[in-house]
């Protein structure tokens, strides 16, 4: 029997994936396995337990929880999935080979759809754990569990196909010269916009009260329960309630929707595959700037600066690379969403510390989005840097200096708004500015180092541009640095208060000696935080200096 082209393509992709995995060292495979076990036990187990509890103690909220869970999953996949979808459907030399082969576009679409679903399926496993837990807590029948797996798979299929439809629509209706920019905007805004709106709705749930009030969250979900993303949730809650007819209708709706979206995606993909390869497959062919605008750049005087050259090159790269650009928009929108969600007006000790944690989080988030891929994103161009008369320290320094301004500007702007609206004075603003600068320098250095420790120069996607060692080193260092920095801040702030006799901490007497001891401990913690950053930078420099890979 002749195998279908889809099966052949998938088998080849899976074989390549297996080779990539097995080519790693035994130590890395063990770390990966341990991480998966850890994630399955702690994250999956935690979500499952939460589901069991909700199923058992919130019988009236099952439908709301399931509808909200499925909708939340859809939004999350929309936020993070676009670069994968663009890469799977429109980018890659292997895709060019498939276009040349006697293979129908529908078969390419089917194979690529299943491949593109990989990342989304991974995300959906968290929802699956929760849904299964809720079923267990509700004492659901066997049908529930089977249907849950099927419906989650269908949901992932629908979202991935929707992303393909959106990209195909952009390609079909937007002129090629604008398509990349519009696609980046659609990719960035589609999910992130939803996300911010969602958070804005949640805001009141977390407004200052003695304890969180979830009534607003519930009312939001009630308002959106008609959305197709909520239908699988209704089907599952109907199964729990024993209403199998209703469950069948909601399941049927979900299936019909999936068929329609997939059909539309397949038809649109067939018509836009070649255009997509042209628009997304490589960099934009023609850059619409006249020569007159380029000449002044080279006509400037003074010695050439490698750091400035790298900065300009990186900026142009971001501007012209749709996948990287599409990832930046959510990265910039997330902090705003989080800020609006959790921000509490009013100056209080709790408010101040909430702001500090928020600032630390935003700084870390932006650094990981911008700094971590900065070295691996050099791709083959890294060899140019290696051949240039410059050290790896200079490369790292240049990357840190380039990433710092956007991270600091955004975080400082956020802190300024928070401190001003919160009624904080100049002193609080100054405290925040110092902390933001310290955190920004630290997190950006850690991010750049993580990319330098384990760069994957051949990765086409920034999210795969750092290997396991770099990812874990970066995460560990960021956590350590963040905790020590916030701890040091606490000791400085409270130490001054204790020394002045204004603050009392538990049984500790408020005296200048205790205050001085707290300040000294804060200093030690700050030095510890600095040492973490220094060690990581040193490690990154050693690894990059010893790098010898041939980058294809």
């Amino acid at each position: 029997m002749t195998r279908s082209a889809t099966a052949i393509i998938l088998a080849a992709d899976l074989r390549a994936w297996r080779h990539r995995l097995l080519k790693r060292s035994a130590a890395r495979l063990i770390i990966l396995a341990l991480f998966l076990v850890f994630a399955a036990v702690f994250i999956g187990g935690g979500v499952f337990a939460a589901g069991v509890t909700a199923g058992q103690y919130l019988p009236g909220g099952r439908d709301t929880l399931l509808a909200g869970g499925f909708t939340g999953l859809s939004v999350l996949m929309l936020v993070v999935g676009f670069p994968t979808v663009i890469a799977s459907f429109f980018v890659g030399r292997d895709l060019l080979q498939l276009v040349l082969a006697p293979v129908r576009p529908i078969e390419i679409f089917a194979a690529r759809l299943l491949l593109a679903m990989g990342a989304n399926l991974l995300i959906s496993s968290i929802l699956l754990a929760g849904v299964l837990g809720l079923g267990a807590g509700s004492g659901a029948s066997f049908v529930y569990y089977v249907l849950a797996i099927v419906l989650i798979f269908i949901q992932v299929l629908v979202i991935t196909a929707t992303q393909a439809v959106l990209m195909s629509l952009v390609l079909r209706w937007i002129p090629a010269r604008l398509a990349r920019d519009v696609a980046a905007a659609v990719a960035g805004l589609a999910g992130a916009g939803f996300y911010v709106l969602w958070n804005l709705n949640l805001r009141q749930s977390f407004s200052p009260r003695s304890r969180p009030d979830l009534s607003n969250l519930t009312s939001v979900i009630h308002r959106i329960e008609w959305l197709p993303s909520a239908w699988p949730g209704h089907a599952l809650s109907a199964v729990i309630a024993g209403e199998y007819g209703t469950a069948a209708i909601w399941s049927l709706f979900s299936l019909v929707l999936a068929a329609l979206v997939m059909g539309a995606a397949a038809i649109l993909y067939e018509r836009t595959l070649l255009a997509g390869l042209g628009v997304f497959g490589g960099p934009q062919a023609v850059w619409r700037r006249g020569a007159s605008k380029q000449i002044p750049v080279v006509a400037r005087r003074g010695a050439g600066s490698p750091a400035r050259a790298i900065a300009r090159k990186d900026w142009l790269g971001y501007r012209r690379d749709i996948r990287r650009l599409s990832r930046l928009i959510p990265a910039f929108l997330f902090p705003i969403g989080y800020g609006l969600t959790f921000f509490r007006p009013g100056r209080s000790v709790t408010g101040f510390w909430t702001e500090i944690f928020l600032v630390a989080f935003i700084s870390m988030f932006l650094s990981s989005a911008l700094a971590t891929p900065s070295i691996p994103s050099e791709r083959r161009g890294f060899q140019i840097l290696r051949m240039a008369p410059m050290t790896m320290w200079q490369v790292i320094w240049a990357k840190v200096m380039l990433t710092l301004p956007p991270v600091l500007t955004l975080t400082l702007l956020f802190s300024l708004v928070v401190a001003t609206v919160g009624g904080g004075g100049i002193a609080e603003l100054a405290e925040m500015a110092v902390l933001v600068t310290w955190l920004g320098v630290g997190f950006v250095s850690i991010g750049v180092s993580a990319g330098g420790i384990d760069p994957q120069f051949e990765a086409a996607d920034d999210r795969r541009a750092v290997g396991l060692v770099g990812t874990f080193a970066g995460l560990g260092a960021a956590l350590g640095f963040g905790l020590l920095s916030v701890g040091a801040t606490a000791l400085f702030v409270f130490g001054v208060g204790v020394a002045e006799g204004n603050v009392h901490i538990g049984p500790l007497p408020s005296s200048p000696t205790i205050g001085a001891l707290m300040l000294a401990a804060g200093l030690v913690m700050a030095i510890g935080a600095g040492a973490i950053v220094g060690s990581l930078l040193w490690f990154a420099n050693s690894r990059l200096s010893a790098y010898e890979g041939a980058i294809s």
């Binding site: 960099p283 062919a285 619409r288 006249g290 000449i295 600066s305 490698p306 050259a309 090159k313 051949m387």
Partner: protein, 266 residues
């Protein structure tokens, strides 16, 4: 042919270079010298160790043992000084696909700290004009053909005036006109005292351009010298470089292989 401006000073020196990848010895004790202003051909079959040797000479790969000197400077001991004198063109040039040709040249010039100003700009314009890339202003390198990438790669070496060029298949993918331009350019550069180590599979190019050749086979240098010296070494006075190469890197006769391939099915 413009006579090379060699003054007898050694510009490139490989000293017992060894590179081992696991159990494979890709390069096994390679030693040779290239004098200033010489064009030396570096020949070898696929997988013979040419690219690995070139990458060691330019500091992209650290040798398992041995060393290399560029204008007397140890590339592994004082890499920054040696790299400032060196230009390496890979068989797949290292370029940034999201930059235009002009932006890429500007980037390279800045990396090598070339002074900015009208002089640099004029040099850039001249190079873009020389390689017929000036009218592709505004087009990203990602949209360039292989030949155009090769040209922008060469231009990026010449923008900064290195004294030693290591070229891996520089005429690969070039149209005949551009290939001729590169050959003439290399001769002119050699006449001005620039040293060229040229790795190529096109033996006619090596025969026409190079004052000497070094042949590498399975990681070993099997012959070095002028064409005349190789003929004497091989004992065939009228042999072409192709004949000498095939003799020195002996393998199965191609005629026999073709016959085996095209033999009727049993």
């Amino acid at each position: 042919m413009v006579p090379p401006a060699t003054d007898g000073r050694i510009a490139i020196e490989a000293k017992q270079l060894v590179k081992r990848f696991g159990v494979v010895r890709a390069v096994d004790g390679v030693s040779f010298q290239v004098r200033r202003g010489e064009i030396v051909g570096f020949l070898g079959a696929n997988g013979a160790g040419k690219t690995t040797t070139l990458r060691m000479l330019c500091g992209l790969i650290t040798p398992t043992s041995g060393t290399a000197l560029i204008d007397g400077i140890d590339i592994f001991g004082e890499p920054l000084q040696a790299k400032a004198k060196l230009g390496y063109l890979d068989e797949e040039p290292f370029v940034h696909t999201h930059l235009t040709g002009r932006e890429f040249l500007d980037y390279i010039a800045d990396l090598y700290r070339m002074p900015r100003g009208p002089e640099r700009q004029q040099r850039m314009e001249r190079l873009l004009g020389l390689f017929e890339l000036a009218d592709r202003n505004g087009e990203l390198i990602g949209a360039y053909s292989h030949g155009m990438r090769q040209k922008i790669g060469l231009a990026s070496l010449l923008i900064r005036e290195p004294s030693v060029l290591l070229l891996d298949e520089p005429t690969n993918g070039l149209d005949p006109r551009s290939a001729r331009l590169v050959k003439d350019l290399l001769e002119e550069l050699a006449a001005r005292g620039i040293t060229v180590l040229l790795s190529t599979h096109i033996l006619e190019v090596a025969q026409a351009l190079c004052s000497r050749v070094a042949i590498i086979d399975r990681g070993h240098i099997v012959a070095t010298g002028t064409i005349e010296e190789l003929r004497t070494q091989a004992g065939s006075e009228k042999a072409s470089l192709e004949d000498l190469f095939l003799k020195l890197t002996a393998g199965p006769e191609s005629k026999e292989l073709i016959e085996r391939l095209l033999a009727p099915k049993p």
